[in-house]
């Protein structure tokens, strides 16, 4: 369990994390979302005691992490940036960490196999691809069989096989009753893996709760309508608060109204409808909507 209470981190006059409070429960995978610069990595570094908070507290499994007797059994962490020595082999990188907790070579070899690094364990980590570096980082996080696992962008750079591995791994860790807290930019991946979410924007908590609630609260779902005369239906539906998008085919995405109202309007105008499908927002759409006011760096306009 991770309990964060009033956590604040300031760098000079910039506030990276602002009075953040949330709890990450054991037994489920909790996703940590937010645009770039929202403060996710800073928060994760504070959980591991690498950065000291300006104010507020972090408790890991009910304890103040820097004072725990056996840190590696409490918390395993993969940080965003690489944190292995490129001049050392994968095995020696892991062994150096394992030694601090009296963990033996057998467990080191076990996590090497688990991470699929068996054939490259003796090679210098500096020659690893991004994906293999990630696997090594995940192996390091799992070394001590920690009660709580925190992973910053674990699927970054992984091939589809690796992405699947992480997904199943996270679920099995949660099923063992461990606390799993994971950040990712890949919304589709998060939607498949996480059951709870903590969403951050500009250092502040935007939302926390189940993935379902988060998606249901989004209003971007809309209705898919297939009709031979998309132009005419668009005109019929035009009203303030209703948007009609057409991708050039006979399919329209209408939001701001219901399937019933679209169907009734089409019937009144004797316009045939071939398909009428209410859709839920995807996690990605919900995320974009919720965080649109807190994105630090906007890309050029796309509309």
């Amino acid at each position: 369990m991770i309990e964060i209470d009033g956590l604040t981190k300031r760098y000079g006059d910039k506030t990276a994390v602002d009075a953040l409070s949330f709890v990450v429960e054991p037994g489920v995978v909790t996703g940590f979302l937010g645009p770039n610069g929202a403060g996710k990595s800073t928060t994760m570094r504070m959980i591991a005691g690498l950065d000291g908070p300006s104010s507020g507290t972090v408790r890991v499994n009910g304890k103040f992490y820097p004072r725990t007797a056996a840190p590696m059994s409490e918390l395993g962490i993969l940080l965003d940036a690489r944190s292995v020595h490129p001049g050392m082999s994968a095995r020696n990188n892991l062994l150096a960490l394992a030694r601090t907790a009296g963990i033996g070579r057998r467990r080191v070899d076990e996590v090497i196999e688990l991470a699929g690094l068996g054939e490259v364990a003796g090679s210098r980590a500096g020659g690893f691809s991004l994906g293999m570096g990630q696997r090594l980082g995940v192996a390091a996080a799992l070394l001590g069989r920690p009660q709580t696992v925190v992973l910053d962008e674990p699927v970054n750079g992984l091939d589809p096989d690796g992405v699947r591995w992480i997904r199943l791994l996270l679920k099995s860790l949660a099923a063992e009753g461990r606390t799993v807290f994971v950040s990712s930019h890949l919304m589709s991946e998060m939607a498949q893996t996480a059951t709870r979410l903590v969403v951050l924007g500009r250092g502040k908590l935007i939302s926390q709760g189940s993935v379902e609630d988060f998606v249901d609260h989004a209003t971007t779902g809309g209705v898919l309508v297939r009709t031979p005369d998309t132009v005419r239906l668009g005109q019929l539906l035009a009203a303030p608060g209703i948007t009609v998008m057409n991708d050039g085919t006979d399919l329209l995405r209408v939001s701001g109204t219901t399937a019933e109202q679209i169907g009734a309007a089409a019937w009144r105008a004797h316009l045939p409808i071939y398909e009428l499908t209410p859709t839920r927002a995807s996690l990605e759409e919900a995320f974009m909507q919720v965080t649109k006011d807190s994105i630090e760096y906007h890309a050029g306009a796309t509309q």
Partner: protein
């Protein structure tokens, strides 16, 4: 490298195993961890080899060339040993680098985050690096100094120079002193690496303090170079007789060495204080 990735999604445990594998962090365990790192890095062995070659090689060159060294009223046995140990002046830069790298290397690669995440109380990491470095440096530098002594004196006496033995006055102190000096030098490098966090900055400051400043000080007018004997290399160098190489005022050997140790302790203290309070 074409490794085939084998993925095992099923369990994080593999074979049945005890529920916990990670025990408490102890100083002894952190020392073992740091030894694993120091031993695994190629830079460690390159620096060590270079230092030994410099010390023994220059000693052999001096012992085997020039006018044979004769002990006389102005030329003591210990003085002859000092001259042949001159390779220390170059080896100290390499061993200082070894010390700097032992800490700055972790910041440069990001490994420090993994290290401090598993030892969140932090200070045991500094003490462990210190212990491991001293344990590595003492035998290495003693081996280099003793080897240099026997090679150089054998070459000297084969060419008709005076036979110098370890039992001659001051000789043993200089040979052991050379080892102590180089060990404390490496510790100073370690503390600089921890304080400055960057390899380049650590090396630059180290070279300035141990090479540039003493050289500049040697050419200052006598009226303003009263501080020169207290410079780390000048003070510490007295223990292997380095003062004799440059002349000028100098501290007595053990006082000078104590001054060098004082600098090392001060820098290590600052490094400890900073390691505790600064973000990693």
């Amino acid at each position: 490298m074409s490794a085939v990735m084998q993925t095992r999604p099923a369990s994080t445990h593999g074979a049945p195993a005890p529920a916990t594998v990670a025990g408490p962090v102890t100083q002894v365990r952190v020392v073992r961890a740091e030894w694993t790192k120091l031993r695994a890095l190629r830079s460690t062995w390159w620096c060590a080899l270079t230092a030994v070659v410099l010390i023994v090689g220059l000693g052999a060159a001096i012992g085997g060339s020039g006018a044979p060294y004769k002990i006389s009223a102005g030329n003591s046995a210990a003085g002859g040993v000092t001259i042949s140990l001159v390779g220390i002046l170059f080896a100290q830069l390499v061993l200082g680098m070894l010390g700097v790298l032992a800490f700055s290397g972790e910041y440069a690669t990001g490994m420090i985050r993994a290290t401090l995440a598993v030892v969140p109380s932090r200070l045991p990491v500094l003490w462990a690096k210190l212990i491991v470095l001293v344990a590595f440096m003492l035998p290495l530098s003693l081996l280099a100094a003793v080897a240099e002594f026997f090679v150089a004196t054998a070459l000297e006496s084969s060419r008709g120079g005076s036979a110098i033995t370890l039992t001659d006055p001051g000789v043993l102190q200089e040979v052991i002193g050379a080892s102590l000096y180089l060990t404390v030098i490496a510790v100073t490098g370690l503390a600089l690496g921890a304080l400055l966090r960057r390899t380049a900055a650590g090396l630059a400051v180290f070279a300035a303090v141990f090479l540039v400043v003493p050289l500049v000080a040697a050419y200052l007018p006598a009226s303003i170079k009263g501080f020169a004997p207290y410079l780390p290399s000048n003070a510490g160098g007295t223990i292997w007789g380095a003062g004799k190489l440059f002349g000028g005022q100098q501290l007595s050997p053990w006082t000078g060495f104590a001054v060098l140790c004082g600098y090392a302790v001060m820098l290590t203290g600052l490094a400890a204080w900073q390691l505790r309070r600064r973000d990693a």
